[in-house]
């Protein structure tokens, strides 16, 4: 675990000596009930600032009704090397897809 992450208890991410403001990932909810979708990133000094910047960059044409901003450094991502072990083995496991199962007679299919 990265110590820097543990040490930062407030909402201000670590800049790592860079003069640029920290990066934040922006997620927008297009309409009520819909999931928040990643739409891009912004630079900002704190959470409120990130929210305002996200609004100005990604939400000025009625793109959504709710925003999340998350410090980019707090997102743990899989690596290209993970592609095989993470995603490949599913190909031969057809029974994980609903289409694998036959619909019993008498069940109405919509």
């Amino acid at each position: 675990m990265d110590d820097k992450r543990l040490a930062t208890s407030d909402q201000r991410p670590v800049t790592g000596g860079d003069t640029e403001w920290p990066l934040w990932e922006v997620f927008i909810q297009p309409k009520p009930g819909a999931p928040h979708e990643h739409c891009g990133s912004v630079h900002a000094v704190d959470a409120e600032h990130a929210l305002l910047n996200a609004r100005d960059v990604y939400a000025r044409r009625s793109e959504g009704i709710h925003l999340w901003v998350v410090p980019s450094q707090w997102i743990t991502a899989s690596t290209p090397e993970d592609v095989g072990p993470f995603f490949d083995p599913a190909n031969d496991k057809a029974y994980r897809h609903p289409q694998f199962y036959k619909t019993p007679r008498g069940v109405k299919v919509y």
Binding site: W21, H43, N53, V57
Partner: protein, 246 residues
């Protein structure tokens, strides 16, 4: 004072401030802020468009928002002088935006219940936008005032320089229009404005200047020398190619 004159005040404040803000387009300190300032600029110009269109309609002389924006001389503009001052550095732009946006938010909140339905409708739309302008500029006041020594000093200088232009915002409004429930008495907005400004300045470790001499004249068409230069740039295309569409 006729209603059209009152609407010109409201519209011109926004048109001129919107134009000043638009000068930052492509020059913002970072991409996100560049877009933010352009957004606010467009909000203000949009509000001006509605208000000036209504002013022309009420006046009944066939003038449109475009005629009023592009074919009036400086002495015919009714904006307060504070909005025509050059954009200055980023601290000056933010400090002015903050002082004016707080005023506009208080004004628009009340104008939403104006007896003039058209004006009330415009105010309702503009109030939402302006609440964001306050949030944006107040956030920057905190960052700049309570930031580095340089950002603090620049912001304090901006507030000091701007202060004598704030009095004009709270000048008298026509009594008849106020009594009819159409206009908002700006004098009554002064105390709530001072409270809000004082709260943010204190949090931003900035000092609120004393009220001294207050500059006036914009509402009567007496402007600083800066308005003429702004109008020259803003009006040149429309005046060179009258009626052109693009």
């Amino acid at each position: 004072m006729a209603l059209s004159e009152y609407l010109l005040r409201l519209g011109d404040d926004r048109l001129i401030l919107g134009h000043r803000l638009s000068e930052w387009c492509g020059h913002g300190p970072i991409l996100e802020e560049d877009i933010a300032l352009a957004n606010i600029s467009l909000d203000l110009i949009g509000q001006a468009n509605l208000l000036l269109e209504l002013a022309g309609k009420v006046e009944g002389q066939g003038r449109t928002a475009d005629t009023l924006a592009y074919f009036r001389e400086g002495v015919e503009f009714r904006n307060a002088q504070i909005v025509e001052l050059p954009r200055g550095d980023f601290a000056f732009t933010i400090a002015r935006q903050f002082l004016v946006s707080v005023f506009e938010a208080l004004q628009l909140e009340k104008l939403q219940s104006s007896k003039n339905a058209d004006l009330a409708g415009i105010a309702a739309k503009a109030f939402k936008e302006t609440r964001y302008h306050v949030r944006h500029s107040a956030g920057w006041m905190l960052k700049l005032g309570d930031g580095t020594t340089e950002s603090h000093d620049r912001t304090q200088i901006a507030i000091d320089d701007l202060w004598r232009f704030t009095g004009e915002l709270f000048g008298n409004t026509d009594e008849t229009l106020v009594e009819q429930g159409i206009a908002v008495d700006c004098v009554s907005l002064r105390e709530p404005w001072k409270r809000e400004v004082a709260r943010v300045l204190q949090a931003a470790t900035l000092t609120m200047p004393d009220d001294g001499f207050m500059q006036r004249g914009g509402r009567e068409g007496r402007h600083t020398e800066h308005l003429g230069h702004l109008l020259a740039e803003m009006q040149i295309v429309a005046r060179s190619f009258p009626g052109a569409e693009w």
